[in-house]
Symmetry: C2
Subunit: 210 residues, 2 copies
DNA sequence: TAGATTGTTAATCGATTAACAATC
DNA sequence: TAGATTGTTAATCGATTAACAATC
């Protein structure tokens, strides 16, 4: 039975399902049961069946799930087939690390441009992605509909940049700055990547285990 | 009443408490009630009091909490006062982004060294942190007790590097590679930073909101 | 003192796990 | 057919919220 409102706990597990199913698919595994998948992901078979049943009926009694077709279903659920596009704001180290090392296309996202203020960077390309002046942002967005803005700018300008992105029609912000974005306007989604929160959790667990 | 086993949900909120309390402290706020803090963090007052009561009694009836002393208590709980030290493995873009832009000391962690294989980097410093040859790792760790290893190496060598770090006495791995680390040995903690998981969750929410 | 707000116990809500009829 | 495994309903468990006596 398809559910209306999916809990955030389920959604946070979906990328992991996708990752494991991709691995299995690459390994040439054709079919898998919920209990086998559960064993390899450290989840109960029940939970996997519950999670998947939020979105449809993808398995077959007595057989299990076809790995590749389930992978495709999960990709669909995650919006990977929606043709999302992204631009990176800020081509400093972190921005360039994403440009060079992170494979947006593996998440179904096409990275089309980067923007910066540094004259040394403007006009160049990194990993085939052109770097434009931030002054060109509005002009660019008006001509290239863009769903995601990646914020790798200094925290001090994160607020201003997010407003300009949203005004330009961007629907989601992937925020790598410390700045807590307070975005008004309906339908805008913010995903924060707080390195410090992650490091502090690690610090807690280390300290606790001593 | 102090609790033995703290749930992971509580622990993941602690860094946010710390962040908000730091902000309040900087703004010169002296005292705050659970309901005022809840309002600004979008949590219920009840939840905040429950969370904090896992670790001790930090408030005062009729008054609330002293911001700065609560901040210090949370810092303590998070292990920020344990004098944790860290080394970065891999001084590519992502490693350098962390070296240059991320303030480890704000999380109570002292970053003491970085390691790489590239002859152009070895011997130089970034933001005051020396970059050594990866060949020096064991030698360095034996002379500088280190609690945290930051993995910003290519995924293909993540497994090998984590083994060497653990052999050298490191207690926690902050893993920025895609590689799913399977670490044996008691008391070793792994914190994964999966960029792709985060982007896919964003992709889901955008797609859902259309 | 009266008002405010804590820490904690009890009630509610939601998420995970177990059980099982349906069926490939 | 018999065995395996699903999707779903029911039971359990845990986390969040509400209520309130204690007290600053």
């Amino acid at each position: 039975m398809k559910k209306d409102k999916i809990s955030s706990a389920v959604i946070r597990r979906l990328p992991r399902y996708y990752r494991h199913l991709s691995d299995l698919s690459h390994q040439g595994v054709i079919r898998i049961s919920s209990s086998a998948l559960g064993k390899s992901m450290n989840l109960t078979a029940s939970q996997i069946r519950q999670d998947l049943s939020c979105f449809g009926e993808f398995g077959q009694q007595g057989y299990g799930y076809n790995v590749e077709s389930l992978r495709k279903e999960v990709a669909d659920i995650l919006g990977m087939t929606q043709g999302h596009t992204a631009v990176v704001l800020g081509a400093g180290n972190l921005g360039r690390a994403l440009l060079e090392n992170f494979h947006f296309e593996c998440s179904g996202v096409q990275l089309t441009a980067a923007f910066d203020i540094s004259p040394e960077l403007i006009g160049h390309s990194v990993s085939g992605v052109p770097i434009y002046s931030i002054d060109e942002l509005e002009n660019y967005l008006s001509r290239h509909p863009t769903s995601i803005g990646v914020l790798t700018v200094p925290g001090s300008v994160a607020g201003e940049m997010s407003e300009r992105l949203i005004a330009g029609g961007v629907k989601g912000l992937w925020n790598f700055t410390n700045s807590e974005l307070h975005v008004e306007g309906a339908g805008i989604v913010v995903e924060n990547v707080h390195f410090a929160d992650s490091l502090l959790a690690l610090s807690y667990f280390i300290s606790e285990s001593l």
